[in-house]
Structures are given as C-alpha cells and as structure tokens.
Symmetry: C2
C-alpha cells in the first residue's frame, strides 16, 4: 500500500484549504487503495475571513488546528514529515496555499514560500517522488522548483506570474490534469476555474491516478 502525504493550509476556501478539494483528494487516495496522512504547518493563519460576506474577522486561528477539522483530528505538523515514509505528496488548493503556505495572494511572482513547505517539496522532488498540486497550489511548485510545467487552468495573471517565476504554464480545462513526466509533477485547476463539485472529483481522481503511475 502506497502512502501519500497531503498538506493542508487551514479549513475554508477564502483563508485555508478548499474543503471540497481536500476532502475529494482524501477520497481519491482511499479509492486508489492508498493511505493518506495529513499535515499542516503549526502557525497562525494569515487572517480569518467570514465566508459569507468576505470580511476579515478579528480572530486568530492556527493552520494546523483548523486543518484538523478536515482530517478529523488525524493530522501532524509539517515539521514532523519524514519524506522516506511517503511515496508521493499532494497539495490541495484554496487561498490558504496563497496566504498561509506562501504569500502569493499578496506578492504574486515575488512571493515567499513557507520554509518547511519549500524544504518538503525540494526533498520529494530531489528523491524523484511524484508531487500533485491543485487549484492555486501549483504556484508554490513554480516558486520552489522553478523549471517545471504546471497548470492552474487559464487565469491570465496567475499563469503569467508562474512564467515570470521561471516555470511553464499549460492551460487546462475542467477535470483535466497536466503531467510533467520529467519532474514527476501533476497539476489540475479545480476551483481556479468556475467548476462544479463533480469537476473537482474528476480532477482529484485523475491527479491521483497519474501520480501513482509515476511511483
């Protein structure tokens, strides 16, 4: 049985991990007869957003604690992730990837990726273990690994930022995955497009299928 590490970034599309993408990633891993283990950085969220009106809420929430809601409590700090225990890595999307795991939401192509997350990605890549990323998370791979081929769908500003960071952006449509076989990277747009929850299931399933081919 293959072990797949999933890095979450909070709980909720506007300030954390996108819940449908994260949940359907876990489902896709289980349906492929693999085991998932969830991780998140033990740090405060950049901010808390009211998901009805978009207002910032004056509250402090911890990325690991909020991510635990999606993982039903079964989650570990990214600082404890042992690369040798895993066959592949997946980063679901949501603004948490661009606000907590990195500051891409604020600084675009000049963003900085959280050092724990960057180190984990570098190690999976250097050990030729496949990495999957969905929605906005491919910008993190572009920033950390630079010369890789990824997709966030078709958003012009984001795809341009990806190319400025030294990566290649390939456009994709609902439920499609882009495979960079040389770098063992699979990406899919999910809610970076105006997608339905069925598109998310399709994309996450295909992403896991392609990752497993490269282990």
């Amino acid at each position: 049985m293959k072990n797949i590490a999933v890095i979450l970034s909070g709980c909720g599309v506007f300030d954390g991990a996108e819940i449908h993408e994260a949940t359907l990633t876990l489902l896709a891993i289980a349906k492929h007869n693999c085991k998932y283990i969830c991780f998140a950085p033990d740090m405060n969220q950049h901010h808390v957003i009211n998901h009805i009106n978009g207002d910032e809420v004056k509250q402090t929430r911890n990325v690991l604690e909020e991510s635990a809601r999606i993982a039903r409590g079964d989650i570990y700090p990214t600082s404890t992730l042992q690369i040798d225990d895993f066959d592949a890595l997946i980063l679901p999307g949501g603004f948490g990837a661009a606000k907590n795991l990195s500051d891409f939401a604020f600084n675009g192509e000049n963003c900085v990726v959280n050092s724990e997350i960057a180190e984990i990605i570098k190690q999976f890549h250097s050990k030729q273990k496949p990495i999957g990323a969905m929605c906005i998370s491919p910008v993190i791979l572009a920033n950390v690994l630079r010369n890789v081929n990824v997709s966030i769908g078709s958003d012009k500003a984001t795809s341009e930022a990806i190319e400025i960071m030294g990566a290649i952006h390939t456009s994709s449509n609902h439920g499609e995955v882009i495979v960079d076989a040389d770098n063992k990277i699979v990406t899919t747009p999910c809610y970076m497009l105006d997608a339905s929850i069925i598109d998310i299931e399709t994309g996450t399933n295909k992403l896991v299928t392609e990752l497993l081919k490269m282990i």
Copy 2:
C-alpha cells in the same frame, strides 16, 4: 431538476457539521443531476473545539458563517428556507447536529431541537417530501417526528435514546441505508460507525438514490 435543501451545523466533526459527510452529500446530489442549496441557523455555535486535542477554545463562532466554509459562501439562513422551493431535505451529521441544531449531546432523549429546524422538518414531513439524515442527525428526526424508523448504526446508548423518544431504531452497517417508506425518511450511519471515507461516499450516494425514488 430536483432541488434538495441541505442543512449544515458548522464546520468540523467535533463542534459542527462533519466535513466529509457534508461534502460527499453535495457531491452525491450533483451526481444525481439535482441541485443543492445549503442552509444553516444564524446563531452562535454551542462551543468551539480544538480538533487536535479535543479542548474547548475560548472563541465565539457563528453556525451559518462556519457552515459557509463548506458551502463556499453559497448558503442561506434556515429562517429563509421556503419548503415549496424544495423536493427533499438532507441533514448531514457531525456533533453540530447534537450541539447546535439540538442539544442531544448534552441531554440525550430529553433534548430540545432548535425551533427553526424542528419546524422545517415538520413541514417537509407533513407535505410528504422525503428527508434524509446521516450519522447522529437521525436523533433529530426521532425527537421531532417521534414515530419513525431510523438508524444511527449500532451505538447502544444512542439507539436506546431514539426508542425512548418514541421512534424505532434499526441497526445498520457501513454504507447501508434504512428506508422508512411510510414516512419518506432515509438514514445512514456514516461516522457513527468506525467508517472510512469510502463508506461515507457509499452511504451518502445510497441515501440520495433512495430519497429521489420517493419524490
């Protein structure tokens, strides 16, 4: 296209709606070519639980605002739910059903169901529109409707409480649904058993299939 109202109770198994059950309910509805609209009561949660260690967190969170994380912002107060707009009702589980939608977690068979939720259930039932409930949520149907046949799996204390409230409890296993055809009620145990996320997908899918047969 059939419209199904989904009532959420927060965001996270220990103080709100169970995220996998809620997400996979929305997916099952969409895969059955139906439309879902999410609702939640506009009230404060009973409390906030740290999902890693189970401790209570000194913070106030609103059930509607937290539920909006699962619904990606597309959610309405239960006070605005118009029964005539919907063909069926579904209540996913999680402690939110037993702490926010009712106080079953604290008062068992002597629990009180939130008046808005109780009224919605009574109206769907009196208009012979089917109702689905999963995990712990069937206790709400037992309390509001009394003489109905439901299942929460096999937990002894909970099934006894259901019978004391005047309902019938039928045991069920992973992914099984119990159909009360006379009352148009479908229930499934989900995480009231030691289930996998695949069991949740199976149970939510079967629940929606059975509900649609009764519309």
